[in-house]
C-alpha cells in the first residue's frame, strides 16, 4: 500500500509540472502580449515602443522564455502568483477573497451529487426492469440533458422570484451568518448538483448492473445472503471504482458550472472572478485560477487512485 501511494505521488509530479508549463505558455497566446494588457490596451500609437521595452525590462519579460518560466515557477512555489493588472493586489489576495464561496458551492454540489446520485444509481440498477428503475432512469436522463444555465434561470425565476422559497440572487458570506450563508447557497448548489448527480447516477447504475450480473453475485444469492447485503455490501463495493474515478472529473466540471451559476445568482466567487479576469485580460489572475484548479484536480486524482487501490486488492497488486 505504501509503495502504491509513493509511486502514485511520483507520477503526479510530472503531470503537475507539465500543466504549469502549459499555464505559463498560455501567456504568449494573449493578444497584444502581457505588456499591452498591463498598459490597458489604448489606441494605436499611444504607447511607444520605448515604453513597451521599458516595461518588458522591468518585468523581466525580455529574458529568454525558460528563464521567465523558472522565475515564475519559483515564485509560484513560494506562494507568489504575481499581481493583478486590474486591482494591483497580489493574486493570492484576490483568490483568497473569492475562493470560499466557490469551494462551498463545489463541495456542497459534490456532496449532494454523491449522496443523491449514488442512491438513484443503486435504485436504477436494482430495479432496472421495473417501473421504479425506468422512472429514475428517465429522471436522470432529463437531468443530464438540461443545460445548467437554463435550469439556473428557471430555478431563480420560480423557486426564487415567483414563490420566494429561496433568495433569487445575492450571497451572505459564511463569516457573517452560517444560516443565511446556507440559505443563499441552497438553490445554486442544487442547480449545480443536478447534472453531476445525474451523471453519477448513470455511472453507478451501469457499474452496479455489471456487478449484479457477475458470477460472485450469483454465488451470493445461491448462498442465501440477504438482499440488502448483496446490494450494498457485495455489489456496491465493486461498483465504487467508477464513482471514485469520476469525482475529480466532476470537480473540474463543477468549476465550469460555477462560472454560470455564480453569474446567475450574483455570488462573488471564483467563477465570477474568472469571467472578470478573462474579459479584462487580467492574465496573472487567470493564470492563478487555472493553476489552482489544475493542482486541485491533480491532487483529487491522486487521492482517487489511492482510494481505488485501497478498495480493490487487484489494483494494489498491479501498482505495487
Amino acid at each position: 500500500m505504501r509503495t502504491t501511494i509513493l509511486r502514485r505521488i511520483a507520477t503526479s509530479i510530472p503531470t503537475i509540472l507539465i500543466s504549469t508549463m502549459l499555464i505559463f505558455g498560455l501567456r504568449f497566446l494573449l493578444p497584444g502580449g502581457p505588456v499591452q494588457a498591463m498598459l490597458g490596451g489604448g489606441a494605436e500609437g499611444e504607447i511607444t515602443d520605448e515604453q513597451i521595452a521599458a516595461m518588458e525590462e522591468r518585468f523581466g519579460l525580455d529574458a529568454p522564455v525558460p528563464v521567465q518560466y523558472w522565475h515564475w515557477l519559483t515564485n509560484v512555489v513560494q506562494g507568489d502568483l504575481g499581481t493583478s493588472y486590474y486591482s494591483q493586489q497580489p493574486v493570492t489576495t484576490v483568490l483568497g477573497q473569492r475562493i470560499l464561496p466557490s469551494l462551498e458551492l463545489i463541495v456542497g454540489a459534490l456532496v449532494v451529487s454523491i449522496l443523491v446520485g449514488t442512491a438513484l444509481g443503486i435504485i436504477t440498477a436494482v430495479r432496472r426492469d421495473r417501473p421504479t428503475g425506468r422512472a429514475v432512469r428517465l429522471a436522470t436522463g432529463f437531468g443530464l440533458a438540461v443545460p445548467d444555465f437554463w435550469l439556473g434561470a428557471v430555478a431563480a425565476g420560480t423557486l426564487g422570484l415567483a414563490w420566494g422559497i429561496f433568495p433569487a440572487v445575492g450571497f451572505t458570506p459564511l463569516s457573517e451568518s452560517f444560516g443565511d450563508n446556507l440559505y443563499t447557497l441552497t438553490l445554486p448548489v442544487l442547480v449545480l448538483a443536478v447534472v453531476t448527480a445525474s451523471f453519477l447516477a448513470r455511472h453507478i447504475s451501469s457499474a452496479m448492473a455489471t456487478a449484479l450480473d457477475s458470477p460472485y453475485i450469483r454465488t451470493a444469492w445461491a448462498m442465501g445472503l440477504p438482499s440488502r447485503t448483496i446490494y450494498l455490501n457485495c455489489a456496491l463495493r465493486n461498483a465504487l471504482g467508477p464513482v471514485i474515478t469520476f469525482i475529480p472529473l466532476a470537480f473540474a466540471g463543477l468549476v465550469g458550472g460555477t462560472v454560470l451559476v455564480e453569474t446567475i445568482f450574483a455570488i462573488p466567487g471564483l467563477g465570477t472572478e474568472i469571467m472578470r479576469s478573462v474579459t479584462s485580460q487580467d492574465y496573472p489572475v487567470v493564470q492563478g485560477i487555472v493553476l489552482l484548479v489544475g493542482v486541485l484536480v491533480a491532487v483529487l486524482n491522486l487521492l482517487a487512485d489511492v482510494l481505488l487501490a485501497f478498495i480493490d486488492p487487484r489494483i494494489r497488486r498491479a501498482t505495487a
Binding site: 458470477p215 460472485y216 450469483r218 454465488t219 451470493a220 445461491a222 448462498m223 442465501g224 465493486n238 480493490d312
Partner: protein, 312 residues
C-alpha cells in the same frame, strides 16, 4: 419451520436421516421464458429425485435444461420465468413459497455452485470475510460460533492452511482452491442439498479429479444430496449413483448410473456415450453427434422416459 430445526447443523448427519432418504423431489417441472421473440419452453415436465448420501448426475447438451432445473429449485431463475409443477424439499413445496420464504432455504438447506471458480467469489472482499458473511447470514443463537463453523467447513474441504486462505483475496487462490472455498461456504451455511453446475469444467484435469473426489467424500461422510450437472458423461460416470439424461427440456433416460452407461435405452444417451474418447480409440473416433443421429434422437425425443435398469 419444523424441518429447519431438524436439518440445522450438518456437522454430523442427523441420525434420523438415513442414506437414500428422499430430500428433494421435482415433479412435472415446467419452465417457460417469454422473450421479445416469443415464448421459449425450457423445461417440459421434468421429474427428478435427490436422496441423502447420493449423487444424481444430470447429463445433456447446452440448452437441454439441466441448469434451469437446478436454478428453478433454488428460486434463482430470471424474473419473468413461468414455472409449473412442484419442487418439494422435505415436504415443503418450494415453488409455493414467496421470495422471502425461499431465502430461508437458500444456503441454509439448498446451495448451488457454478462453473466459474475465481470469479464466483467477490474480487474485492477477503475470502475469510466472504465465508463469515455467508455463515453469519444463517447463524442461529446457541449454535457453535460462526468462526468455528467456517473453520470446520474449510477442514472438511481439505483446505488445511485455513488462516492463509481466509486472509487471501480470490485472485490469490487457484481455481481449485476457489471451488473448495465455495463448497466450504455452502457447508458452513448448513446446506444439505448441493446443486453443482459443471463444477469442474473450468478446472485442470488433475484438479477436476480432486474436486470430484471431494464432493464424493462429502456425500459419503455428511450425507449430502448432490445434483451434479455436466455435459461430460465421463465426469458423471466416475462419481454418480444415479444418472438422468436430459434433452430439449425433457428427461429422456433415468436410472442407476452404471445401468444407464452400460445399456443406454435412448439414442441420445448412446450418442452422448459415443462422444467420450476412449483409451483404445483413434482420434477419428472423437466426434460430435452426427446429423443422422440427430434425426433418430428427434424421432425418439417425444417417447416416454426410459427407466433403464428398472430402479426408480
Amino acid at each position: 419451520m419444523q424441518v429447519m430445526t431438524k436439518t440445522r447443523r450438518p456437522a454430523s448427519p442427523p441420525s434420523d436421516v438415513g442414506p437414500g432418504e428422499e430430500v428433494l423431489s421435482v415433479q412435472n417441472l415446467k419452465v417457460g421464458f417469454s422473450t421479445g421473440r416469443g415464448r421459449t419452453q425450457a423445461l417440459r415436465g421434468v421429474d427428478l429425485t435427490l436422496r441423502t448420501g447420493q449423487i444424481l448426475g444430470v447429463a445433456g447438451e447446452s440448452g437441454s435444461g439441466k441448469t434451469t432445473a437446478a436454478l428453478a429449485a433454488m428460486g434463482l431463475l430470471a424474473r419473468g420465468a413461468e414455472v409449473g409443477g412442484s419442487i418439494r424439499y422435505r415436504g415443503t413445496d418450494l415453488l409455493a413459497l414467496p421470495e422471502k420464504g425461499l431465502r430461508q432455504y437458500r444456503g441454509r438447506h439448498l446451495a448451488m455452485i457454478f462453473q466459474e471458480t475465481a470469479s464466483a467469489l467477490n474480487p474485492v472482499i477477503r475470502v475469510g470475510d466472504q465465508l463469515m458473511m455467508a455463515a453469519k447470514a444463517h447463524s442461529v443463537d446457541g449454535q457453535t460460533s460462526v468462526r468455528e463453523r467456517v473453520a470446520a467447513a474449510l477442514a472438511d474441504v481439505r483446505l488445511h492452511d485455513a488462516d492463509r486462505v481466509m486472509a487471501s483475496y480470490p485472485h490469490e487462490l487457484s481455481g481449485g482452491m476457489c471451488q473448495r472455498v465455495i463448497i466450504a461456504m455452502a457447508l458452513s451455511c448448513g446446506s444439505q442439498v448441493l446443486f453443482a453446475d459443471e463444477p469442474t469444467t473450468a478446472l485442470d484435469v488433475s484438479v477436476q479429479q480432486e474436486i470430484l473426489e471431494l464432493i464424493r467424500g462429502l456425500v459419503d461422510r455428511r450425507g449430502l444430496a448432490v445434483m451434479l450437472i455436466s455435459h461430460d458423461l465421463a465426469v458423471l460416470s466416475e462419481v454418480c449413483d444415479g444418472l438422468v439424461v436430459m434433452y430439449r427440456g425433457r428427461v429422456v433416460e433415468t436410472g442407476p448410473a452404471r445401468a444407464v452407461l452400460q445399456a443406454p435405452g435412448h439414442p441420445y444417451t448412446q450418442a452422448l456415450l459415443d462422444c467420450i474418447p476412449t483409451m483404445h480409440g483413434s482420434h477419428e473416433d472423437l466426434r460430435e453427434i452426427t446429423p443422422e443421429q440427430r434425426l433418430v434422437i428427434e424421432a425418439a425425443g417425444d417417447e416416454p422416459v426410459h427407466h433403464t435398469g428398472g430402479v426408480r
